[in-house]
Amino acid sequence: MMTACILIIEDDSASRELVRYLFATSGYATLDAEDGSIGLLLALQASPDLVICDLQMPVMNGFEFVRRLQEHPHWRRVPLIAVTAFSMVGDRETTLAAGFNDYITKPIAPETFVAQIEAFLPPELRLGRADQNAQEGDHGKNTDG
């Protein structure tokens, strides 16, 4: 069976490395890009099985990326997940309306992140973490007084 390939588009190198590391240690193949325009080339030429994309990036932001991708005749329509540090009113709605399949805010929970994303892969491409960790983890809820 082919190993599923995850494309990570993220301008913050530390965040990019974190996501890459989480998927790599889970057994996935990864590709990464530091802005939307490089991401667009990889998405169209390397045929990833899923794309994780930041929204605010230099050169080409996530919204522009998703717009151009969807307009492109060679685009295979694999899941697109936005991971962003934006968290203002209406961000989630805007992002989903732009064409993303899900919206995850930073900081991500490393314990559950891979499982959350895997849920969007076709079952035959999942490497098993989805069931294992779906119920686990702390989302960093605000409990302070």
Binding site: E17, V89, K106, I108, N142, T143, D144, G145
Partner: protein, 494 residues
Amino acid sequence: MTAEITDKLWEQNPDALIAISIEGGILHWNPAAQAIFGYRQDEAVGQLMLDLLVPKGHVDQEKHIQEDALHLGLTVYESVRRCKDGTLVHVSVSTKAVRDENGKPAYFLSSQKDVTHLKMLRDAKLVEARLFKDLLETAPDAMVIVNRSGEMVLVNTQAVKLFGWSREELLGKNIDILVPERFRNHHPGHRNDFFEQPRTRAMGAGLDLSGLRRDGSEFPVEISLSPLETGEGVFVSSAIRDVTERKRFEQALRDKNIELENAAQAKDRFFASMSHELRTPLNAILGFTGTLLMKLPGPLTEEQDKQLHIVQKGARHLLSLINDMLDLAKIGANKLALKPEILDCNSVLEDVAASLRLEAEKKGLDFMLSLPEHGVFLRTDRRALSQIMINLTGNAIKFTECGRVCLRLESRMEAQGKVVVFSVEDSGLGIALQDQALLFEAFSRVDAADRRKLEGTGLGLHLSRKLAEQLGGKITYQSEYGKGSIFTLELREG
């Protein structure tokens, strides 16, 4: 003409008829003269007219008029007469010098009509006109009164000053000279419309009207029109106010508002980017702390594990600070999006309890959840309600060293509708009286001596109260130092 009719004319004439000698003595006196002046014929005849009827101040005038009558043959004038009882009457007098066959004046025949009542009415009109003029002068606005065809019949000094024409130049001219040329075509039409339905109203409501000065300059005006009904027909009274100054203020206010709006937008953008910029590095810190603690890169020593947990806790604290600040900023900017939905309050509290029970039990506290048997439903925002209850419950756990924390839900009916009461009771420190005033202020955590033992952002209660206000509710508390506290959130139906 028969003598009988001549006698009737003399007897029945409603006006006083008096024959007076050239020297001024009364020769004849008809019944109307008696009725008007009070003297009988026999009392009047032989008296001098000036002595009998003319008040002192009018004697000279009366003498002149008699001379006129002598020269001209006839005089018509108004004067005042003193009656027998001392009252004064106003009379309209026609005096004719009657001549003999030689053309020599023989005597005067004087017809004197009592016009006291008419005079009063006329005086009243004069006073009215005078008062009206005074009133116009004291009005703060320029006042211009025009007739049906638009000619100005009365203007006040303010109008003279405002438009730069003299009063004489304005009177009789068409009001159109005060209207800028581009509006003149429509003006007569509008005036006709007004006369069709005369009632007090603002002219051209919502339109920007302009006045035209004599020197050709224009200025913004506000005009109010009222009909003025008189015996001579309807006039329009227009009050014209120069609003140059007010327009300037309005513009200044608009500019200021735009400035404020820009500032508010700049603030929003600032908070949005601050949120982004602060979360980005935290993502890496919390993420890699997480991967290390998950032992993905490899095993950890006990000390490494302990220290990484400290890092994680600090980073989460920082995150909750950022979240609270953002929520406060959103409330401040009215950007907090509430999504009211019908909630099962029992299940909301069960979720809150589930997320905090472990923490309470780790401290050895009894953690109790008391819910009514029947479901309690309320239309409100789930996230805000959960956040308030998590804050209140988290605080209770944090500030209670031993004993218990009890989370309770009740509902009651009041005249205005259902009230849902969420309360959190603890057996902790309590709040000293002097600290209670500061309780809901940002970063004002009380009991500084215990600070090192406690954790918190100092924003939780402040934010909770603001969120409660957003939900139309309020947070109250009862506390006694050393004996614990009860914090209560009350939300109302509707």
